[in-house]
């Protein structure tokens, strides 16, 4: 029994890393423009396709191993970063003065556009993404952790920590947080708000691109619908952790991953109830901690 739980712990951490990476982008964009970017999961999906394209092109030249995948991830990050900025410029910036719900619907529309565009381009095909990363790993007793998993979790952790430092410690990071509160005041302090928003979208989207490519290479398949579910899950994760909070997104992602892994294992009820289990936990968390685990309460002064 202990083995199983230990294995589920690892499963949960791996899955949670993906959730966390995607949740991070959600949270960043939300943190700055207060927009629930429902297209974020689709950026992840497009990221996977771009990563696969890059990989197919690069593998014959630099090999289908770690290096090839690594470079594909970087390329995908850049491409999706720019795609994010384009979307922001075309679809969100013109809406900044509109009611917030309208932007939400715009985001849903962007999500539909991306999904159906890729559907049309790929004819709905599921493409295989098969790098040669070997099957090596470390054995801890009866528990096996593959190098793939280690690298994945490690990369996710590095990206997250770098981002957290960027946002909390640098002037630019402060400016990002400031923009979310009061754009006019930021302008008055000499902050080019449009640029800050663009950078935010770039970084958030690039993370989605990274996650998408990593997921494609890790699980081995890429298709136009792959962003939907993870988009929802990442949104959930971001909220559990406290939306707008970067450590919160990491924590929320990991918790959700673990909840799902262990939820599958609950005796008596099957895996079909695992999402009910995690959503119930989510609701309970919010009932007792209305701003999510690490979210700051936005108490306004009277």
């Amino acid at each position: 029994m202990f083995d199983i739980l230990a294995q589920q712990l690892i499963n949960g951490l791996v899955l949670g890393s993906f959730y966390a990476l995607v949740a991070l982008g959600y949270t960043m964009v939300f943190g700055v423009v207060k927009l629930l970017n429902f297209a974020h999961g689709d950026l992840y999906m497009v990221g996977a396709f771009v990563g696969l394209m890059a990989f197919s092109f690069l593998a014959p030249i630099i090999g289908p191993g770690w290096f090839g995948v690594g470079v594909s991830i970087l390329l995908s990050m850049v491409a999706i970063g720019f795609l994010g900025v384009v979307i922001e410029r075309v679809a969100y910036t013109p809406m900044l003065k509109a009611p917030r719900l309208s932007i939400l619907i715009t985001a849903l529309a962007v999500s539909l556009v991306l999904q159906n565009a890729v559907l049309t381009l790929t004819n709905g095909q599921i493409l295989a993404f098969s790098p040669k990363l070997g099957f090596g790993g470390v054995n801890l007793g009866s528990i096996f952790i593959s190098f793939k998993q280690l690298v994945l979790v490690g990369t996710a952790a590095v990206l997250m920590i770098a981002l957290e430092l960027f946002v909390s410690r640098t002037q630019y990071g402060r400016a990002m947080r400031a923009v979310s509160v009061d754009k006019d005041m930021c302008e008055l302090m000499g902050i080019d708000v449009n640029r800050v928003v663009a950078v935010t979208f770039f970084v958030g989207s690039a993370l989605a691109g990274a996650a998408g490519t990593m997921a494609g290479a890790y699980y081995g398949s890429v298709w136009y619908f792959m962003g939907f579910l993870i988009g929802l899950k990442a949104f959930t994760a971001a909220v559990i952790g406290g939306i707008g909070s970067i450590p919160g997104a990491m924590l929320g992602g990991l918790i959700l991953g673990l909840l799902e892994a262990f939820g599958t294992q609950i005796p008596g009820i099957g895996s079909e109830w695992k999402d009910v289990f995690s959503f119930s936990v989510l609701i309970l968390v919010l009932v007792f901690k209305p701003t999510g685990l690490l979210g700051k309460s936005e108490q306004e002064r009277m």
């Binding site: 002037q171 509160v181 006019d184 302008e187 008055l188 000499g190 080019d192």
Partner: protein, 242 residues
């Protein structure tokens, strides 16, 4: 009208501006010279705030020209204007929620890339406003109204302004603090900042300022040396009172 000494740092010529269909400024002319404190008086809704916003680029001028050190400001983004050294401390403080007092100040120095210089200015601000140092790690928006006003001024100091546009800095402050704030305004001025001051408390403003303008429904109604304005009976009746 105006004596011809000192070079003009900020100049408005025929500036009109407004919000949508509402025109709040109808072609005003105004000048601020180097090292001066100039005050802008007027009743509620006269257009004082709009004037400052138009200078700093938050409101787009519909007509006219605004120059700073000879450069045209109309058409520039607010952030670009701020980077030129025209710093606007808006009405209502606009402390950034979710950022600590210290972070608010740090961001005030966003355009200052030399971190040592930023550090020095921070010390300076803390010297002027010890309460801000005490509360530096607290969320800025949780400060009391008066503390927030200090933060707003401190933030502008971090920027190292060449021209400071102050919009009702004494609003909501306790009497003692009103004086304190005015003293600081004067200090900033003495250290070289040119200041355009909008104040409801006309009596104090005219004491501080060298020159003054009176705005009425979007038009300049009167202008002159501050000391002369302070003696004008019409002004005394309308703005100074007992």
């Amino acid at each position: 009208m105006r004596s011809e000494t000192g070079d003009v740092v900020l100049s408005l010529k025929g500036v009109s501006a407004g919000y949508g269909r509402i025109t709040a400024l109808h072609g005003i002319d105004l000048e601020v010279r180097r090292g001066e404190i100039v005050t802008l008086l007027g009743a509620n809704g006269a257009g004082k705030t709009t004037t400052l916003k138009t200078i700093s680029g938050l409101v787009r001028a519909q007509a006219g020209s605004i120059t700073f050190e000879g450069e045209e400001l109309v058409g520039r983004k607010a952030s670009a204007i701020a980077r030129m050294g025209v710093v606007h401390v808006p009405e209502g403080r606009h402390v950034l929620r979710g950022l600590s007092v210290r972070e608010n100040l740090e961001l005030g120095g966003f355009t200052v890339h030399d971190s040592k210089l930023r550090g020095e200015r921070l010390e300076e601000v803390f010297g002027l406003f010890p309460i801000l140092q005490q509360r530096q790690h607290q969320d800025g928006s949780l400060l009391s109204g008066g503390e927030q006003q200090m933060l707003a001024i401190g933030r502008a100091m971090m920027h190292g302004p060449r021209v400071l546009l102050l919009d009702e800095p004494s609003m909501g402050l306790a009497p003692k603090l009103v004086l304190e704030t005015m003293r600081i305004v004067k200090q900033l001025n003495e250290r070289g900042a040119t200041i355009l001051l909008v104040e409801q408390n006309a009596r104090l403003a005219l004491k501080l300022a060298k020159y003054g303008y009176v705005l009425e429904t979007g038009n300049i109604r009167m202008e002159g040396e501050a000391s002369d304005l302070a003696k004008d009976t019409a002004i005394v009746r309308a703005y100074l009172g007992g």
